[in-house]
């Protein structure tokens, strides 16, 4: 390999010049001739029987071409929407879902009819005119009530509301028997709306003459969409092209196939013209999958000297009305042990069906919940025994790697004390504690919160993922093509929607091939190009899995190019040097051949005997293990006891994702992630009324933070490469979100400790804190 020059460099992003000029290509930017527009008629009820649907005046409205219902779509869409099995539970109930409701609708917003018209304005007008005769049914909105005997059921006629009930490990009694101290707490994880700035959108065009479908969709994984939608519509993959061009954020909410992803191409097939549907923000908040929505009952056991012994956890997870394709992946037991050594951890997860939109992965998916829980409980334990939270963490950190967790997962590498020490130094921990004491004496409520997070990501080994997804191994693919004059295209199965792959992956290729960075172009998001299958981007997997596929394909090419160069120089292969796009024989750098000359030779005559022409390669990478990033986040707050307001004074994050390809992009991922975690801690919550009406259906009500609510962040890092892959890289896309909520809430609890407040739930909004402060003072 050439001397590394690009990997590790802070290279400005390639995708930016067109994006800052307004020349991005998002789903709604595509136009096809003779397109008709779809508007969706949705259920206003949480739970209701559909007695009848009358297109009535809608068909007579200007520009309307069709009003379609489930009966129409049953002719062209086969089967139910997919649900990954995830695990084998003792008890499981998976309600079947067709993309459009027929006799019964089970959450507010569920599609029941669509209107097709010549403009989006006409379609929206006419959707108002469709008359549905509803018979409202009792709604299941509360997790605890949903489990009571005699509760109404989220689906009419279902035996109960238990979606799954699974005990990972039942026994922590021995650990608890040794304990001096046991602390119990119920911890809420409010429902969140992922809220990418670009809502969902689909444009589909059926070409009847050659029986092919082209679909533009705002998706994190176009190959999955092709697989699922093509399967349901009976169109084989070689005649179904899915294009996910620029995508305006996903955060997990653009992984699973949605009803509209079926309805739009199906309508195009039915009506024989291109169909477009673009989600409104209200539709997005109401219908795009939500995240979190969980309640945990937790007990922590330990000794008075600070030693941690055991955890007992029951997770109650709000599935919503249907199981999302990957909703069971939010069952977060595997990460509950965190960064610590335990004697025993007992864990059970209960998934509960309710009359709300389904939950599915949202940035972190299970890992922010696990981190919040364990970091919160460790702090509560520290408060109980009167020890410093930093000291207790250090005493219990896992220090030997590889480490096998109580759930038989193997942590690859780590230096937990290293990141914590650096963060404590950056924040000035000792000095803060002195300042805090002085502040308390003068009636000010200052607090500091630590979150020493870890994460499992880089999904993931086929042996682990294939059974969980229902057969698809979450490996990754890359196809590298070198053209005759030496420019290079790289096609990948991952998908970039803000992560900067167009920049990072060519950095890897440039080094691996020894070619100039500018000679390498990345392409993704079009199933008609590149490898036969890709797995998309989520779970912080793109670099650790996809980056490795890119490296492997590049290495295959490099090997062949070197053989060709050796043949051209009539030299031994081991004597060939490749430096920055030029080959020469060791010791004779003045006599060199450009990479392009070697590439040209690969397509010409006179190759070494028996060598196949061409210079391109496909590689799939199946990682031998997950990767385990980690770090330490520390937040400093002041709480105003008069208003319940929280002022964030400092936020320090020291993260470790192994080797770093592009530090600028890594920092950007961490910053954005932290702010989503802060947003959960302080601001955001999806709220449903008791009757199932969504109360947070606009961005006025669902409070995504603005620049004005966010502090300046101080970032640093340690570097502990993983042995799992040759690049030594771990994922970083979700790290900030996983870490942040615990740091913020621990800081608030620390601030309010003098009032006897031990735990605060999220979002820690002024009204919630004010009430808690008043109760504590009373």
């Amino acid at each position: 390999m050439a001397i590394t020059t690009m990997v590790g460099a802070r290279i400005h992003r390639r995708e930016d010049p067109r994006l800052v000029r307004g020349h991005g290509r998002y789903a709604d930017d595509f136009v096809r001739p003779h397109t008709a527009y779809m508007a969706v008629v949705r259920s206003p009820h949480a739970h209701a029987r559909i007695r009848s649907i009358d297109p009535g005046d809608a068909m007579k409205a200007p520009g309307v071409e069709a009003v379609l219902t489930a009966a129409d779509y049953k002719k062209v869409i086969a089967g139910a929407m997919p649900v990954a099995p995830a695990f084998v539970a003792e008890k499981k109930q998976t309600p079947e879902r067709f993309p459009i409701a027929e006799g019964e609708s089970c959450y507010q917003g569920e599609p029941v009819a669509v209107v097709i018209a010549d403009t989006k304005y006409h379609a929206a007008d006419a959707a108002e005119l469709v008359v549905v005769d509803w018979e409202p049914l009792p709604a299941v909105m509360d997790l605890e009530k949903a489990l009571e005997d005699g509760s109404p059921t989220a689906h009419d006629g279902a035996p109960d509301n238990v979606g799954w009930d699974l005990t990972y490990s039942a026994d922590a009694d021995a650990a608890f028997a040794e304990a001096d101290v046991v602390v119990k707490q119920r911890i809420l994880q409010q429902r969140l709306a992922p809220t990418p700035m670009e809502p969902r959108g689909v444009l589909a065009e059926w070409h009847d003459a050659d029986q092919t479908m082209t679909m533009w969709v705002s998706s994190q994984n176009p190959h999955f969409i092709r697989l699922f939608i093509g399967g349901a519509l009976g169109i084989p993959e070689n005649r179904f092209r899915v294009i996910s061009p620029d995508v305006g954020g996903g955060f997990g909410s653009k992984i699973s196939p949605y009803p509209e992803d079926y309805l739009v191409p199906a309508t195009s097939k039915l009506l024989g013209r291109p169909i477009k549907w673009i989600e409104t923000r209200t539709e997005n908040l109401q219908n795009a999958t939500h995240g979190r929505g969980q309640v945990f009952d937790v007990e922590i056991a330990g000794k008075r000297d600070g030693q941690l012994l055991g955890l007992k956890i029951t997770q109650y997870l709000d599935i919503g009305a249907y199981m999302g394709t990957f909703s069971a992946f939010q069952a977060c037991a595997c990460l509950l042990p965190g960064a610590y050594v335990w004697k025993q951890v007992a864990s059970r997860t209960v998934g509960i069906l309710t009359n709300k939109v389904p939950t599915d992965p949202y940035r972190g998916a299970g890992r922010p919940e696990a981190t919040h829980l364990v970091e919160r409980m460790v702090d509560m334990f520290c408060a109980e025994i009167g020890m410093d939270p930093a000291a207790v963490r250090r005493k219990n950190f896992i220090t030997e790697f590889p480490h096998t967790s109580p759930f038989a997962l193997v942590y690859d590498s780590g230096n937990y004390d290293g990141s914590l020490s650096k963060a404590l130094e950056l924040v000035g921990y000792e000095q803060f504690r002195r300042d805090q004491e002085a502040a308390r004496a003068s009636g000010k409520y200052l607090g500091i919160g630590i979150s020493t997070w870890i994460e499992i990501c880089g999904f993931g080994p086929s042996a682990g993922t294939a059974p969980a997804t229902g057969g698809l191994a979450l490996t990754e693919s890359a196809h590298v093509r070198v053209f005759p004059t030496g420019s290079v295209n790289v096609y990948v199965g991952t998908h970039s929607h803000g992560q900067g792959h167009d920049t990072t992956f060519p950095q890897i290729v440039a080094d691996a091939l020894g070619v100039p960075y500018d000679a390498v172009e990345l392409r993704h998001g079009d199933t008609a190009e590149g490898p036969a299958f890709g797995y998309g981007t989520y779970g912080s997997r793109s670099l650790a899995v996809g980056g490795m596929a890119v490296l492997k394909a590049s290495q295959k090419i490099h090997e062949k190019a070197k053989k060709i160069a050796a043949h051209m120089f009539e030299a031994a292969e081991e004597d060939i040097v490749n430096d920055q796009g030029h080959f020469y024989v060791k010791g004779s750098p003045e006599n060199r051949k450009a990479f392009g000359e070697v590439a040209f030779a690969a397509y010409g005559a006179g190759l070494p005997e028996g060598m196949e022409l061409g210079l391109e390669a496909v590689a799939y990478f199946d990682p031998p293990n997950f990767v385990w990033p980690f770090g330490a986040h520390i937040c400093v707050v002041e709480v105003d006891p008069e208003t319940g307001g929280v002022e964030m004074l400092r936020y320090v994050a020291v993260d470790d994702c192994g080797n770093v390809i592009n530090p600028m992009i890594v920092e950007g991922q961490i910053q954005g992630g932290i702010v989503q975690g802060i947003a959960q801690a302080l601001f955001e919550e999806v709220v449903y009324a008791e009757d199932g009406t969504l109360r947070t259906g606009t961005l006025l009500d669902y409070s995504v933070p603005t620049a004005n609510e966010i502090p300046t962040l101080t970032l640093d890092r340690t570097v502990t490469p993983t042995p799992t892959n040759e690049l030594g890289v771990k994922g970083i896309g979700e790290a900030g979100t996983i870490a942040a909520s615990a740091a913020v809430i621990n800081a608030i609890c620390d601030a309010l400790a003098p009032l006897g407040i031990q735990h605060v739930d999220m979002p820690a909004s002024p009204d919630r804190l004010w009430k808690q402060i008043q109760e504590a003072k009373a």
Binding site: R10, R21, G22, P196, G673, A707, T712
Partner: protein, 172 residues
Amino acid sequence: MKHKVSVTLNGRHREDEVEPRLLLVHYLRDVAGLTGTHVGCDTSQCGACTVHVDGKAVKSCTLFAVQADGHDIKTIEGMAAADGTLHPIQQAFWDEHGLQCGYCTPGFIMAAAYLLEQNPSPNDDEIRKGLEGNLCRCTGYVNIVKSVAAAAKVMNGSTAAPAPSASPVAGE
């Protein structure tokens, strides 16, 4: 019943017949074909649709196209120079990694341009306050604030402009 609108759009005059209820943002995107102006909400919270009308930053989802009749409109496509040289704010967003998915970016750039016209040397707090009509879900705003601060320095002359189109910029 269609109405005639006559506007100056990115320096060029154009006339169209539009429905009275057509939103300005849809006029820009669907009639004029300028898809750099995005729609991120329906309630004027997100600012993705921000453009300039007579030099003022306006959320183009809050105006009807007919209300723009006779006015001067500038969109993100009109920010770079005719020779392709990026506007200092565009350049700063690139240099400071002020964008990730890029969807909110045109709106932020248009809002920032107006902010810097009102206040050529804002401090970080003033930038944060000045941009609170725009939402970004990717960056956590850290690098957006940096981008606007860097652009301000170039535009008010307190710093020389960095070399244009400086890609790749290597070295940490």
